[in-house]
Subunit: 497 residues, 2 copies
Amino acid sequence: MNNGSSFSASLFEPRSIAFIGASTNPAKWGFNILHHIIRGGYAGDLYPINPQGGTWFGRPLYRSLAEVPGPVDLAIIVVPKEKVPDTLRECIDARIPAAVIITAGFGETGAEGKALEQEVLSIARSGGIRIVGPNTMGVFSAYPSHMQAVMTSAPFKQGPVAVVTQSGNLGTSISYRFLRRGIGISRLISSGNEADLTVEDYLEYLETDEKTRLICLYVEGVRQGRRFIDTIGRISSAKPVILLKGGTGDTGASAAMSHTGAMTGSFEVFQSICSQANIIMAESIDEMVNIGGLMLSQPEIRGKRIGIVTQGGGWGVISADLCEAAGLELPPLDDRVVSMLDSFLPPYWSRRNPVDLVAPNRVSMMTDSAEALLKHADMDAVLLLGLGYLTGRATRWMESPVLPREVVEQPARKLIAGERELVDLITRQIRQFGKPIIPVVDIVGFDEPGENNIVRHLDTKGIMAYSSPEQAIRALAKAQDYYERRRTRAEALQASR
Amino acid sequence: MNNGSSFSASLFEPRSIAFIGASTNPAKWGFNILHHIIRGGYAGDLYPINPQGGTWFGRPLYRSLAEVPGPVDLAIIVVPKEKVPDTLRECIDARIPAAVIITAGFGETGAEGKALEQEVLSIARSGGIRIVGPNTMGVFSAYPSHMQAVMTSAPFKQGPVAVVTQSGNLGTSISYRFLRRGIGISRLISSGNEADLTVEDYLEYLETDEKTRLICLYVEGVRQGRRFIDTIGRISSAKPVILLKGGTGDTGASAAMSHTGAMTGSFEVFQSICSQANIIMAESIDEMVNIGGLMLSQPEIRGKRIGIVTQGGGWGVISADLCEAAGLELPPLDDRVVSMLDSFLPPYWSRRNPVDLVAPNRVSMMTDSAEALLKHADMDAVLLLGLGYLTGRATRWMESPVLPREVVEQPARKLIAGERELVDLITRQIRQFGKPIIPVVDIVGFDEPGENNIVRHLDTKGIMAYSSPEQAIRALAKAQDYYERRRTRAEALQASR
């Protein structure tokens, strides 16, 4: 009997999977989730099961668990809800230690569904099998073998972010936002109705999961408040937990109850508890990923002193406003730093922070200025505003029907190469100074075709770019706050020893 | 002598342009802005001027204004700053009524520059020529002939949005965000240092400009407070004005002073005056475009009753939270509407607002639900959450190396066609009910290749899609507030007559 100890090896590192309810009909989850597992390249033994037998596009279908030739670590169940109890009994007979029940129509649908869910739970408890779900969109695990057992159809890649979510579609929304920026996922768990395993179980696993460096958590309501808070508090002293809360308002809370049956409780109380546990509260999916991307792609920020280097005055002005509103500081530049910048900036530069370069003619002015700010003005982080414009202009030259190619080809290549080189310079400076240098590539630069896309180039270097100053600055402020509290606590702990 | 009356025909509808400072060097604005005018297809007479003569890629270069064969309505000046006074005198001699001075290095650079700016202004005043700038990134005017006399290299298209900006780069940031969503620009004016013409002048022109249906305004400080407020107040009773304020904080205000020499004053006072004038205050560039796109692509919203139709529970929950936080209402569904929805929704639907369809198998469930909410539950607007997922899944099928094409091609085409048809249904319903139906296409759907991109398809139908619920809901709340105040004022005015 497995009483809560180690579901995790079976669930996240299964050597073999029985996929119960395999289908050749593309309209079914029994088709799609199986497809995602196979396409993802799961390296263990995979046994797709359908009572009719036959094949799944060349792979044999097993008629039942009894036909499966080897031991099974994990069952993924997509059969109709009324068949779930018997299916679970068969899993127990086959000594399968864990099951993901994708099937919906349980506690979330009313009294009848609740009774069925209770029956499933009783069977599981008495047979010693642990359950994810029911009503889950699945589980992804990147290590040791790529197991994409989720409804999400975008191909996953492995990386440091774990996503635990009480909503399948938000799990997809969050994961996809990381994936498209080149940031991989370690585990994704859609917890569904949490009949058996709950977010607290998954969090405890992630606490010691070496592959996970950052946790994104969407919760509507927690079932074990004390355990939840203790767990996230412990985790956040080692790795950041970014939390988005659903059901913060009355209507949302009712919707949450209808969605997963979760009782949401008072948001104010929840928020204050999370704040004490140094959990980063995100206000939206986008903000969650903006914060996460920053923390993964940049060194720890060690203070509030922000330097801004901008290619345009207006960006500098609104960024200064945003920093002030977010509680960050823009220290003035002392004479020494001004004269240092004077030595290589054009005569019309702003002579203050933000450092306004006014359409610089050399890209290295950006990084030279960043160096002056980080090294000599002792800033804790630098924002670089306006990358990508030179590449954009060069691309427009090359596309233009009125410019002879021989006139623009050389200068265009030079501008594009210059901005690519700038990315390398930024990468090197981040390492050299151990401080964040955060590029803001106005949305113009996000759209460039192919290899001219400076955002993709930054992505491949592991540096998250932001499409507007506000996204970068809000993320920076929340990351700064997290690190500051973590340092303060660590010091207090040290002192008390 | 033209004393402020009608600069607008010369500036926005010039029959001929002298481009003074034309260059064949791609590093110069004298090259790039000229390129943008020519590539844009300006249909009037264009006279590029460079004292060296020769040609500009096949077009004759004139040595001076004196050589130009016909009358000139507008001069665009990009010569070095010390040559600006004489150039302006030549423009006056040639009886040119208006000039755009791109050249920088004036009031924004200190005492010497201020003196030069004063000299330029005196020359202009005494000669009766009106000036945009100096230190402007230029002017775009879509009507009657496409005149893209701006630094912005992205090709403009004509449309209903006017942009007036005290920052050139923010003008580009704002315009480009509209353009990439298929929303065109009527006029873009970068006001620069406002030595002569000011934002107030441009706003007065736009007040009666029939091509302009919505005005986006970035200001750091206004020079004629009373006139500014009177003008935007009058405009906003007829067309929306969305304003982003730079220099709201202390550091930002200092940066603004250094940027354009603008005194920003107290933001609280400014905000309260704007609120009385029913100006929509945007908190960021992104929000400005989110609000503007909503107002242009949807009918007037006539109340706060919001219906939500979602393909996933979590999206519904966070959207309900966001609506509540933004002061919008999610009215419960009465029994009649529930039983109406019961008649075509699957048995497991949420039976409440948000209407959670839980991965519907027919796309028309979305629009049928929208109809029930708009027509029978009397909602003022409907949010449709989760478009684009079916197309995404279908696209993944077609790309998959493990699925035989003959198995997935038919169902894939059906899903994609279904979502395209959904777009048509939405378009028709918006017209039929005269109420907003706002699609939220999670960022997944923004990335689809080619014709499968449902966002581009919505763009071509003139419907703005949002990549997250929060963007849609914040825009909706601000638009609703604007319309409500406008109706209330109009009614009060009516009653007082």
